[in-house]
Symmetry: C2
Subunit: 332 residues, 2 copies
């Protein structure tokens, strides 16, 4: 180990006190130009950098945000993690990432461990059960922000898209295309995204004088979406359009329709998804999909999180508008 350089070493070399060193590294602290310059020179020479842990112990602020994610394989959350990290970094915060197992069985332990690290706030993305974890954090006074999930419970801060509007857009699109036998492949019902997307979709169908013709659940899993597709399209009166609650499932649904069931998309079936992940635009798929404003959601999340960490009573942002990326999978 290289000998750890402390503020005292710098102070001695610069001929000032430890307080002065600390001030020289604190933006806006009252320190004369000369002192600051001497400190900076000495610090440079010794390779000194303040120990963030020691600072955190004093200030009670770690400038670390705990980010809990469960799925990194659905093509949606990797981009989210990247953008959240970058955005927090730009604000002088850093991200401690915790993987929750898919069944959320270890969520309590994860929550405790994050608290142990004195994170300033917790951002939960792609996590199913959040009641326990949020209660724990509230007791400790650590703000919790849900990303892409609402929680009915009072007092939860959530950043979401207008998922209902997304469902409604797809319904209107299907209706305008003249499709009549409409199917829906759902995500996990424990997720507000699933419930909102379906509610909006069904409402949109009703507005167009239509109703749901078939429904199955793919639980946000490609393999289960495949099974749901086989079952839904193996029946006599199969749908001529299907809305799938996420692209991760919708891509599997397209593959199943085309390669297993020999159906033409969109000739036999129009397919629409949700998230507009990069692959949706690839030539092999050209999947019509509801696009979330991820950049906007990330910006809202960072602003909301930092406000809460700093004790400002920033209100939860409005749901972000979504748009429909119309592609060949519905229009031919």
């Amino acid at each position: 180990m290289g000998e750890r350089v402390t503020s005292l070493d710098v102070a001695r070399l610069a001929g000032v006190s430890r307080s002065a060193v600390s001030r020289a590294f604190t933006p806006g602290a009252s320190v004369s130009k000369g002192t600051a310059a001497k400190v900076r020179a000495a610090a440079e020479q010794l390779g000194y950098r303040p120990n963030v842990l020691a600072r955190s112990l004093l200030t009670g602020r770690s400038r670390v945000i705990g980010l809990v994610v469960a799925y990194l394989d659905g093509h949606f959350y990797p981009g989210v993690v990247e953008k959240l990290s970058n955005a927090f970094q730009a604000e002088g915060y850093h991200v401690l990432i915790f993987m929750a197992s898919r069944d959320a069985g270890n969520l309590d332990q994860v929550a405790r461990e994050m608290m142990d690290y004195q994170v300033d706030a917790l951002v939960l993305a792609s996590v199913e059960m959040t009641s326990d974890i949020t209660r724990q954090c509230r007791d400790t006074g650590v703000p919790v922000i849900l990303f892409n999930r609402r929680q009915e419970q009072a007092g939860e801060l959530a950043v979401v898209s207008d998922n209902q509007q997304g469902g409604r857009l797809v319904a209107a699109h299907f209706a305008a295309l003249g499709r009549r036998r409409i199917g829906y492949i759902a995500g996990l019902d424990s997720a507000s995204t699933q419930r909102d997307r379906e509610a909006g979709f069904v409402a949109g169908l009703e507005e167009a004088g239509l109703r749901l013709h078939a429904r199955a659940s793919g639980a946000f899993r490609p393999d289960q979406a495949r099974d749901a597709t086989v079952e839904m399209f193996g029946r006599a009166d199969r749908p001529d359009a299907v809305f799938v609650a996420s692209d991760a499932m919708a891509l599997a649904v397209m593959d199943t329709l085309r390669f297993e069931l020999g159906l033409n998309v969109p000739g036999d079936v129009a397919v629409a998804g949700f998230d507009d992940v990069p692959i949706a635009g690839w030539p092999s798929y050209r999947l019509t999909s509801v696009r979330q404003d991820v950049d906007g959601m990330v910006a809202d999340t960072v602003r909301l999180t930092i406000a809460r960490v700093e004790g400002r009573p920033e209100p939860a942002p409005l749901p972000r508008p979504v748009t429909l990326s119309v592609r060949v999978s519905t229009t031919g």
Copy 2:
């Protein structure tokens, strides 16, 4: 904020000293059963958990590993991040994630910030320039482990696949299929993965009495891979087989060949990639690809990292063997 519960609060309630509380939370410390039980009961009642920051300050160990990644959109690294996080969590470590921008321009700053957080080690994945960062860390005595990258410089610890062997496998496969006009679409030459894959591929061709017919660079970017494909296959004497240095590019190459150039895969051109990402197996692609043993690499990385953190002189592991997942894109 909920009042912070400290070890002193617990000590008072349990009628013991702070030392006893500390020992009750330190596995293997000498403390009587009775005392430990009293402490545990009091801690439970107060909701006490030790402050990891304070402990780190004393012990000089944060049990935090800094993970630097640049690309989270190539379908390969998200799985890596997930597996690394899980594996470190299982060993009682946690992962502070830092996004390096693609051009690595902010790598120095990222390195400094990680040091500020007193990470116990640094794992660098998908990072191009690593010389500065590794030197900085060596000065501080923080171990640096490269994931999926070698560095020629002495003393670097790297965990890699046998990339040369991967290239060789593809060459032998193409030769066995009777392909003669062989193309290669390269990644960034600054990456050892690129250089090793190409070297192995060329060596394998030579062993089969073949040589490279065409070469272009896609720089590990799908869009540049598309351009390279258009150029390589727009010429008269186009290849009848092409090896692409990563699946992220290979999938784009397949799309370009089929949908832009109207070529049949593998009828006109056999295509092989590297990484065997999940999409490679999807019905729309069925891409032959070199599979890396990611689980093995992760295990090596965690073992190596922890050994170094604990001061044990674990040697760098051998390159992990790779296998070829043969699919329709080469065999029809």
